[in-house]
Symmetry: C2
Subunit: 275 residues, 2 copies
């Protein structure tokens, strides 16, 4: 596996490499990321991964400084997963001057995660566009775990006429159902034992939703959040939304997704479940 | 010359075309545009032009509706200038849904032209990025007549890591000095006779600036604006600025540019002169 840090070296390395499938990450890789890497093989001749902890998408008081940076172990895993090229820029490589041009997403950026993390999706859209311009892939793969991020990037690709297919890949879960996440490493053992409740709560809500219909959504959302809070969580939201655009459902038969974010101690977990 | 209207047809046509040099325009072509087309030949194997009157960069009350649309004559001129491919999308092709993602430029967008045309450079940056994503050129050429536009696009290319060289080309002028512009066609004959005063005023200002130094800038700017106004112009600004970033000069020896915008009747003209 080739590793490049600077944009010019990366571009040089990717000439004559055929169709590129790209998986951007913030590193601290787990099986969810590696599933994306293996899936990428079906979408290009060359699989490129990136590792960059993007300051722009962290708010003040968020975990930018303590976000786990594990490059050596990540490289071993990427090699084993058959990745051809890793782009691992420093901040100086990707932001040689302070970033002043931004991709400004529409209202979708202020919903749900965006309401709790102001500026997050602007930071995500900007860095993803910039990474796309460095790598120039034909396809890019993202996990459905960050569902709203996937929707923002899909919309950005359509709206800015990016010549890139955006591929969403199902969330990988631990045996007990917990969605894999780099932030799971923050959980103390009792919290880790409690954490699968988040996914179970989404499953229960889905079952009731299928029985009771969308009229019950406000009540079901409240009950789900209350049941998490009863078990020591601080719930930011549990929300039933349309898959496209993430607005509340307006009619029966729409493809829906249930999204949740809740804190367990100082760790904030998110998950979602398509209906 | 091939003409394509849809993004998929354009992309199909540009496969296997080698390095592409691109000149985006709003049509109603004059010798300034054609100079860009001929210069483009030195920057790529294939020269692509686009014609698209971009609603996003016009403010309310501006001349979007009356902006001259002369596609047949433009095509003849592009053919004669040796352009290989013309991309002429309809609004439906380029904005199949309302544009909701924008490229948001930094403070530079609010200076000078931006102060008089709020949102203009956001609209320019967004459509240029979108056209770049359609054409995927190695180089793109812009006239220096729209100096601030060139600075915004140069900065965007650097800030978003676009794999595109941005080339600025000197303004083409009529024999009497008037910068060529599609908007010159709006001028009545007496206005057309008066119009070269704009460039003469910039030349006079440059001469005095070289004699008197940057301490004199505020006075020279005022005098230049007043002399235009005395001759029936309504001056929006005459400004001496640093070339990079378009901020006021802070020290002797900086590369400077003098920029002006003024209305003659209902026609708004802009021009500039590097020092």
């Amino acid at each position: 596996m080739e590793i490049h840090h600077s944009i010019p070296a990366l571009r040089q390395a990717l000439q004559e490499r055929g169709r590129i499938a790209f998986v951007p990450t913030m590193g601290n890789l787990h099986e969810g990321h590696l599933t994306l890497m293996r899936a990428a093989r079906e979408h290009g001749d060359t699989v490129v991964a990136s590792i960059f902890v993007n300051r722009l998408q962290f708010g003040p008081g968020e975990d930018f400084d303590k976000y786990p940076r594990t490059l050596a172990a990540d490289c071993d895993q990427l090699r084993a997963a058959g990745v051809d090229v890793l782009f691992a820029p420093t901040e100086q490589d990707l932001y040689p001057e302070p970033q002043t041009f931004f991709v400004e997403p529409p209202d979708l950026q202020h919903l749900l995660e965006g309401a709790f993390r102001p500026g997050h999706f602007r930071g995500v859209a900007t860095v993803v566009l910039k990474l796309f311009n460095c790598v120039q892939p034909q396809a890019a793969l993202f996990g459905k775990k960050d569902y709203q991020q996937l929707m923002v990037i899909r919309a950005m690709a359509a709206q800015l006429a990016l010549p890139i297919r955006i591929v969403g890949i199902d969330t990988v879960r631990a045996a007990d159902g917990l969605a894999l996440s780099s932030r799971n490493g923050y959980l103390a053992p009792p919290e880790r034992a409690e954490a699968p409740r988040l996914y179970r709560t989404l499953q229960t809500l889905r079952q009731r939703l299928l029985q009771e219909g969308i009229e019950a959504v406000p009540r079901l959302e409240k009950e789900a959040a209350a049941s998490l809070d009863e078990h020591g969580w601080q719930t930011d939201y549990v929300a039933v939304r349309q898959q496209a655009g993430l607005l509340p459902p307006t009619a029966a038969g729409q493809p829906l997704v249930i999204l949740a974010a809740a804190r367990l101690g100082s760790t904030r977990l998110i998950d979602n479940l398509e209906v």
